[in-house]
Symmetry: C2
Subunit: 338 residues, 2 copies
Amino acid sequence: MAGSESPQRAVTRNDVARLAGVSSAVVSYVVNNGPRPVADATRARVLDAIDKLGYRPNAAARTLITGRSDLIGLVVPDIRNPYFAALAQAAETAARAHGVNLVLAQGATGALEQLFESLAGHQAAGIITASLPEPAALAVVARGRVPLVRLSLATPSEGTAIWPDYRGGARSAVRHLVEVHGHRRVALVIGSDHPERGDEPPDGREQGWRDALEDAGLTTEHLVRVHWSAAGGADAARLLATRHPAATAVFTSSDQQAIGLVSGLQGTGRSIPDDLALASFDGSPEAAYTVPALTTVNVPLAAMAEDAVAELLAPTGRSHRHETRLVTRRSCGCTPAA
Amino acid sequence: MAGSESPQRAVTRNDVARLAGVSSAVVSYVVNNGPRPVADATRARVLDAIDKLGYRPNAAARTLITGRSDLIGLVVPDIRNPYFAALAQAAETAARAHGVNLVLAQGATGALEQLFESLAGHQAAGIITASLPEPAALAVVARGRVPLVRLSLATPSEGTAIWPDYRGGARSAVRHLVEVHGHRRVALVIGSDHPERGDEPPDGREQGWRDALEDAGLTTEHLVRVHWSAAGGADAARLLATRHPAATAVFTSSDQQAIGLVSGLQGTGRSIPDDLALASFDGSPEAAYTVPALTTVNVPLAAMAEDAVAELLAPTGRSHRHETRLVTRRSCGCTPAA
DNA sequence: GTGAAAGCGCTAACAC
DNA sequence: GTGTTAGCGCTTTCAC
């Protein structure tokens, strides 16, 4: 349909060299812009041959010799979770901008060793993980000398970490509920991977909630622990009704929980924001389209992902925190901007 | 902290062979379970050496010689879109089950050539795309002999396709609005990548809506064309109010549009399902947590993704359609199950 | 500014 | 059942 090339064998660098009348080394210099200079005329001939032949470098051969591929791994617990989807889109964009490919892997703590093993076997340039790796998984990347950065995980662990200011963000949301809307009893719906065990390492959101309440001389008694998911939020709606009916406002640790909470409130006769003011954490895009729209703490995922990729490609070993920003919408009682 | 291995040079197959007292070929036979048999005792020695040394096969070397890597590409327009996030999670799960890694790429028609070029350079075992490739991109994979399957794209194109029964699914949803809830004027909110141009190739959802209405002897005059997104759905809310105020029910071509529509209806005095019954298409998880919960046509993404991966790994060239299933919730006027 | 050549780690004939 | 060996396509050192 297109031409008459013989597609039997892949075009190699030698074919290009032959057509351009140069050695294969020169083709390499041209393709990689170095490490040796090439005369302009020669370069043009090579480029021309590459084009004519439809030559495409073999990534495996390059990786084999350099010992480093243009792959980086991204590990998230579940890509369906909109927060991780947003994180993945940010990571893919950043990776692409740096000319590297993202290998997507889903997995939770305890199931990461295999994943890391596979990524290391590919000589991945690095791994970004939003799942907290277990020690065995950490050992794998250490042995393979694969740089690792924890993205969006404030929990202390080895390696570099890039995370949002969970504590400050939570504090600003709760402070908003207290100072702007006058709430005195603000509940916390805190996320957990295992709500029944309740042994999560704290990431600052709970502390931020305490900070804001203590700053205002209020008590921090209304706390409910559920999954991070929308289903968890629906659970929280029930728990709040039975255990903390006096709370007039609530801060949820994820937008998904907020969505589930709103859903779970249906048919209970309580509505948001009139009977219960709501602010959450994440800043996911859908927060603008819920009913009512969510007031939420925006996490700068694009900047964080960019930092994570840059860190992998040129490790500095410096962990750092990113500032968050409160976005007010209807759910806290704010009226839409005119 | 862990041991005292010398992590300077990577452990190779030769190191394993030496420790196990066999040749490197035998190590290969053990690692790959073939192509030649190995005595049990020898196998045990090799496995033991692998374990002791922490040997990990070099994927690049293997790819170089076999000409095929264990990578498959997944191309989606935007992973933040919950439909594609769900598709990606299904694809990742299926890929993992087959022992292959997923390279995530985001891109739309017109920007796929580079992406495919990169994937082909990695000797990807195949590419799953949910974005419709332009001819130039198609040429790349053809030249590189990379199997391609279009997932969730019914639009005619080259290669194999796996898609949901858009037409039948839409028809069943609209029929439900008509037959069960008695609606006579059912609007369609159809998605488009370029609503202003309106030159989308049809995928069956529009036809399914027509089918159901024509089956019932109703007119198909209420049609609005907007983006697939929640923002598009909010636009649709406005357009319906001004252009099609008589419609008493609406079928949206994506859950995101339904979410945006519900959001856009706020403050207009019309509520769902009482003033406007709503059914949509996708079956995304969040449809259960909107307010009201969405009646939607469920797309069997897990099965589709499994088929797509299987097709890449052992091409049959057979395109096929998957059945959908209507899930009724509050938005169409159905009451929750007792 | 260009070329020759030595591998990178692995697979799979092929020999025994 | 096991060992020997010839490359896969590329990068880069070292000559010229």
